[in-house]
């Protein structure tokens, strides 16, 4: 194990989780879906996609009626609602007493699209008044920072409330920001994660790039043909270990470290040699004070585009060396699709679910793994292991935005 200045720093633990995914509202529905390995990707009704090239996505079902009674709910965009629903769940699990002291809690949140779906509806109605009324309220939460603000309003968070929007690595990067703010002692608690809703712009955009599979996506498979879009949110309550212990909260996991990098080469394609993706993973390991041999499994970005999975496999080779073929790889997007700005957070939740269950979740089986990639994909059936302790979650976004998180299962001996 490497010695690291990281170990002298304040330790940061996860004390609450919330998720809204195509599997339903709540972490439980999400955990059941990923552990069963059944895809939730299928037909959807969020918008009219008759004119699109493909016709499937991971769509979040309607919210539980209790949430509709949350004050101001009708004003929120779908992206805001997913964010607030996840934040309320995470906050409840963390058992935080409200209101928090002014300086104690922050929000570091991600979104790639904010209220873009509602903005599209407004513009559509404006130019085609036959279909609907261009209600001004549709524009109220168009901004990318709206989900973070909606969480802050709902929970009364009054320290820093910040938004990260770096493509598909955004919520992993937001989690990194939260980790650093707590380590620096700026805040004790941070609500962090990401939220995004299906919308025409991203759906048509990824289709224009020919990056969407007509069938549910098949990460790391030989016949993979692109991603599947999904929607939803996840929120992690991060907290300094001292603060959690002082108030008697039970940590779910420890966020050991985070790392980021940029390919600095192309708007959409990843660098095929995976060098900078590997660098993000190495930085996360160094930040955690760990060697790659400590990683028991990887929750991969695994979009199922031919280019992403090849670049990611190359990065895995660079980081894990001789172990590259032996490190089990989870690909959550096969179950819920690609949640864009929420992907990093949702996959961090998947990683924690796996660590806590002692079970690696499978990707739905629909063909053999691509031998050329040389990854040990958990496919078809969950894989149980009594030795799961530490895991990495990686996200590789457009623009070459790379991020990696290192998470460790919490146990009684973790505290010492």
């Amino acid at each position: 194990m490497l010695s690291s200045p990281g170990r002298q720093q304040r330790r940061v633990v996860v004390t609450g989780l919330g998720a809204v995914t195509p599997a339903g509202w709540g972490v439980k529905a999400f955990a059941q879906a990923i552990l069963s390995g059944r895809t939730t990707i299928g037909g959807f009704t969020r918008f009219d996609h008759v004119a699109q090239r493909t016709h499937i996505a991971g769509e979040v079902p309607p919210e539980p009626p209790t949430l509709r009674r949350v004050r101001g709910w009708h004003r929120l965009s779908n992206t805001d609602r997913f964010a607030v629903g996840s934040a309320l769940e995470a906050s409840q699990q963390a058992g935080l007493a409200w209101p928090l002291a002014d300086a104690d809690a922050a929000v570091f949140f991600a979104s790639s699209t904010g209220g873009l779906l509602e903005t599209e509806r407004f513009v559509h109605a404006l130019f085609d008044p036959g279909v609907a009324t261009a209600t001004r309220g549709l524009l109220a939460s168009y901004s990318l920072s709206s989900p973070a603000e909606a969480i802050a309003r709902r929970l009364g968070v009054t320290a820093a409330v910040e938004t990260v929007s770096s493509a598909c690595a955004a919520s992993a990067l937001a989690i990194e920001q939260a980790l650093r703010a707590i380590r620096r002692g700026e805040v004790e608690v941070a609500f962090t994660g990401g939220s995004d809703c299906l919308c025409v712009t991203t759906y048509a955009g990824f289709n224009a790039l020919r990056a969407v599979d007509e069938h549910p996506c098949r990460p790391f498979r030989a016949d993979r043909a692109g991603l599947s879009l999904g929607e939803g949110a996840a929120v992690l309550v991060l907290e300094s270990l001292d603060h959690a212990v002082a108030r008697g909260a039970a940590p779910l996991a420890e966020l050991m470290g985070a790392g980021a990098s940029c390919d600095a080469s192309h708007m959409t394609a990843p660098n095929p040699d995976g060098y900078w993706a590997a660098e993000a993973m190495r930085r996360a390991l160094a930040d955690a004070g760990l060697d790659s041999s400590a990683i028991d499994f990887l929750n991969a970005h695994g979009t199922a585009t031919p280019l992403n999975d090849a670049a990611e496999a190359a990065a895995i080779g660079l980081v894990f060396g001789d172990r590259a073929h032996a490190v089990p790889v989870e690909a959550t997007k096969g179950v819920v699709g690609h949640l864009l700005g929420a992907a990093g957070a949702v996959e961090a939740v998947a990683t924690i679910v796996s660590l806590r269950a002692g079970t690696l979740h499978p990707t739905p089986e629909s063909g053999p793994v691509d031998d050329a990639l040389g990854v040990d994909l958990v496919l078809g059936r969950p894989r149980t292991s009594s030795t799961l302790r530490t895991a990495m979650s990686a996200n590789l976004g457009f623009g070459g935005a790379n991020a990696a998180l290192v998470l460790r299962r919490w146990s009684e001996e973790s505290e010492s």
Binding site: R68, R71, G72, H74, R75, T133, T135, R136, G137, A140
Partner: protein, 98 residues
């Protein structure tokens, strides 16, 4: 001119039609249901929508500095305001016609 009961029914339909949010139906709107806060939960964006809709529907002009917030308390208060404004407008046009 509409009587007050008809006017209130019309306003309820207008509110539902204008704001179009899930669960908002005319029967959820009693004459005295508070439109904002703990009642229907409308906000200032909804108020803006309603002002524009009322102006269009009744050919009236609502200037924010002239209108007290209490006008938007409920369908009842809104009905009284619209009726008052319509009477004022017709009186004004009758005077102008003379």
């Amino acid at each position: 001119m509409l009587n007050e009961v008809e006017l209130r029914q019309e306003l309820k339909a207008l509110i539902v039609q204008t704001l179009r949010f899930e669960g908002l139906t005319a029967d959820r709107l009693a004459d005295d249901t508070p439109l904002f806060g703990e009642g229907l939960g409308l906000d200032s964006v909804d108020a803006l929508e309603l002002v524009v809709a009322l102006e269009k529907a009744y050919g009236i002009t609502i200037r924010s500095h002239e209108v007290d917030k209490s006008v938007f308390t409920s369908v009842d208060s809104l009905g009284k305001f619209v009726a008052r404004t319509l009477v004022a407008a017709s009186t004004e046009s009758a005077v102008n016609a003379q």
